[in-house]
């Protein structure tokens, strides 16, 4: 197991370097000189040159990439052009809100998705099964922002049970503010988890060990939960993990819809202000979170299913 973890972590290094390289190259080609933009309409050429030198922008790009990578390893992602704050600080301030949203969305998706999948699989082609699966399809096809706005319309404007959008005052009072973004962000993983649960459980129900258990006279409920579901959980866990990672990116849109003060909002504001160091930092950070989460998923997958380690 330990060897497997080491192997996976080592495999990750080129990927992370690749991510930093692609991010760096992407932002190298930004049209418009950021120094000129920040200095206004008629910049002093000497001053411009000095700032350029201070920022290290007169160096060739491989050197700049090396510096960027070295600084990034030390947690320095540059400074915001707009506020001169360190980008890392901005990211760490905004990240907890995004993490909170993504976690609660995932809890919501698992809490409702697995039972829905079990019901669908055990009562295949029943009304409940068809209804769940149609809703799952609808959930996958509805863009997050449309779903979010519909939720706002229903629960904020017409029913008035939710006070409004935004992060809320904090503590328990902001729990109500969390509900709608959670549903909006959690619906796609909910749909995927319920579909995955249904299909893997159905597969398991046809397997030999389930037939054996049944022929022994084991009660149906025990067959489903103990014999079939336990085996079906492995692919479900993978789906959960993979979706948790991509939720971070999905949160960008949800955060805009619900004025949620997370990484997505930070990024979109930075794009509007053309504050590229912040945009670059958030992109890199989110990609790293994505990769690391996927790594954790893989490791836990290997922990649950020893066959994976041997591949």
């Amino acid at each position: 197991m330990f060897q497997y973890i080491i192997k996976r972590v080592i495999q990750l290094i080129p990927v992370i370097i690749g991510i930093t390289f692609i991010t760096f190259m992407l932002f190298l080609v930004v049209p418009g000189d950021p120094v000129r933009v920040s200095l206004g309409q008629h910049p002093d050429p000497a001053l411009q040159e000095r700032i350029r030198h201070e920022l290290g922008m007169d160096l060739p790009w491989p050197v700049r990439y090396g510096k960027y990578l070295w600084n990034a390893v030390q947690g320095d992602l540059g400074k915001s052009i707009e506020t001169s704050e360190p980008v890392t600080k901005r990211i760490l301030e905004a990240f907890p809100a995004t993490l909170k949203l993504a976690t609660s969305a995932m809890i919501f998706a698992v809490f409702f998705g697995i039972p829905a999948g079990i019901v669908s699989a055990t009562r295949q082609y029943s009304f409940a099964d068809n209804a769940f699966m149609f809703m799952a399809l609808l959930g996958v096809s509805t863009p997050i922002f449309v779903l979010g706005l519909i939720l706002q319309l229903v629960f904020i404007r017409y029913l008035g049970v939710i006070p409004g959008v935004g992060y809320g005052p904090g503590g328990w009072a902001s729990f109500k503010h969390l509900i709608l973004p959670t549903i909006a962000l959690g619906t796609i993983p909910l749909a995927m988890i319920s579909r995955m649960t249904r299909s893997t459980l159905l597969e398991q129900m046809k397997s030999d060990h389930v037939r054996t258990a049944r022929s022994k006279g084991v009660k149906e409920i025990v067959v489903v939960y103990k014999h079939a579901l336990k085996n079906a959980l492995i692919p479900i866990v993978t789906v959960i993990g993979n979706y948790f990672a991509s939720l971070m990116a999905g949160a960008i849109i949800t955060e805009k819809v619900f004025s949620w003060p997370g990484l997505g909002t930070t990024m979109i504001t930075a794009i509007e202000k053309r504050d590229m160091p912040v945009v670059m930092g958030v992109v890199l950070f989110m990609a790293l979170v994505f990769v690391v989460t996927n790594l954790i998923v893989d490791i836990s997958y290997a922990y649950i299913d020893p066959r994976v380690r041997l591949k």
Binding site: G18, V146, I252, V283, M286
Partner: protein, 439 residues
């Protein structure tokens, strides 16, 4: 089984798939609509800042007031309940609730404040005076000698307005019929048939004229810039389809080339391509597209690039897997044996055998591209305004999302419907072509 027979079987299976047929019909409708977009919706761009955020199916009147500034007003009815909402777009762009309290109007402003406007001569426009008032009746009259008008409005117990009136024009009593539009009255001279529009509300008791009769009835209302939503929706279909097709083409070209190279040649070529694909997979798709758009700036062409760059890695994996599986098969051996070149083997022997996953992926990929474009445009980093993409239409309605849901709701439903249609078709195609495909 011959090719012809296979094709027929596939079509038969596809048409037996009900949802796929529904999906296909929606897609065909979308294609027809986008082909004839210019004919169906000739004017998706013209703005009318005097008639913004008008709800669906409301009759819009262009009225010219007779005051010295000759301001034009757009008036439409919002509701005809006891407490009438009225909205005079252009003059006031918010909903105001008003109630007549005998000799004053109580106006509830959207910020929660209440404003009382007394119905006395001071609040009336120059040239008008109140000549009588009661709980259920008030009358005002122009003091101008040229045109003396007298209206009376009677409220019954339910707050409905009785539909009769007398009008005194130059001292003569003329029968008029009038219709209550909630925000205004259309006054029709019975004898001559002339129509005039009278807005309600103390500050608007100015005699106005219908300029050109009822103007238009925007089926789906207008957006925050007064543009016709229905027309923009039609053009949005064209843009979505355009994005879907171009993006999938870019992704296919990159994906098939790299996938076939990696799978066919193996070795270091495979390693390089596979590692590069892995790195691309390490970016969540939408995040990478957002980053590219942030760098390149908002434009339809840049949307193609951003989403095309995001779309190819899954194709590489599919194609590589298929090529690896197929290249050991007998027909490839045979082609090699008769001296076919690698290029010919890939293009003429391997690719046609991978059409099933490619076709399925195209359908699902178009759905994904349409959804991603909508997402980018919603974030304000997609197509450049005023291009009517469905996502940017939703962004247009975002500021007034809860007051005027019609602006974003219809494009939102249409996106969901179209994405659903492509997903249905994709599922149907998979079942028809090869049920064992795992895409």
């Amino acid at each position: 089984m011959t090719q012809k027979k296979f094709n027929r079987t596939v079509f038969r299976r596809l048409f037996r798939h009900k949802l796929a047929v529904i999906g296909l019909s929606i897609i065909l409708l979308m294609i027809i609509v986008s082909l004839f977009a210019d004919v169906i919706a000739p004017d998706p761009y013209s703005m009318n800042l005097d008639a913004t955020l008008i709800p669906p199916m409301k009759q819009v009147y262009a009225a010219k007031s007779k005051d010295q500034f000759e301001t034009k007003k757009y008036i439409y009815e919002v509701s005809d309940s006891e407490e009438s909402y009225y909205k005079i777009v252009g003059k006031r762009s918010e909903n105001v609730l008003f109630e007549k309290l005998g000799n004053a109007l109580e106006i509830k402003l959207p910020d929660g404040k209440t404003e009382f406007v007394p119905l006395n001569s001071k609040s009336l426009p120059p040239g008008y005076e109140i000549i009588g008032e009661a709980d259920d009746l008030y009358t005002f009259r122009s003091t101008k000698s040229v045109l003396v008008m007298e209206h009376w409005y009677r409220y019954d117990s339910l707050g409905k307005h009785t539909k009769n009136s007398k009008e005194v024009v130059s001292g003569e009593l003329v029968d008029v019929e009038w219709e209550d539009l909630g925000v205004a009255y259309v006054v029709v001279d019975v004898e001559s048939g002339n129509k005039r529009l009278h807005p309600k509300g103390a500050s608007d008791l100015i005699s106005t004229e219908i300029e050109s009769g009822p103007m238009k009835r925007p089926i789906l209302g207008t957006d925050n810039a007064g543009r016709d939503i229905a027309q923009r929706l039609v053009h949005g279909a064209r843009i979505s389809l355009y994005v879907g097709i171009v993006v999938i083409l870019i992704s296919l070209i990159i994906g098939i080339t790299l996938g076939a190279l990696a799978g066919f040649y193996g070795g270091w070529i495979d390693s390089v391509i596979s590692r590069f694909t892995d790195i691309m997979f390490a970016f969540p798709g939408l995040l990478f597209a957002i980053a590219v758009m942030a760098v390149l700036g908002r434009d339809l062409f840049n949307v193609f690039i951003a989403l095309g760059l995001v779309g190819w890695p899954p194709i590489v994996r599919i194609i590589r897997g298929e090529v690896v599986a197929l290249k050991e098969s007998e027909f490839v051996e045979a082609a090699k044996a008769i001296g076919a070149k690698n290029k010919r083997i890939i293009l003429r022997h391997l690719l046609p055998n991978m059409l099933a996953p490619i076709i399925v992926y195209v359908s699902l990929g178009i759905a994904g591209a349409i959804m991603s474009e909508a997402g980018l445009s919603f974030l304000g980093i997609g197509v450049r305004p005023p291009m009517p993409s469905w996502g940017s239409m939703i962004n247009d309605g975002f500021q007034h999302a809860l007051d005027s849901p019609h602006v974003w709701l219809v494009p939102g439903i249409v996106i969901a419907l179209v994405v659903l249609a492509f997903n249905f078709l994709g599922d149907g195609l998979r079942d028809a072509l090869d049920p064992k495909l795992k895409i």
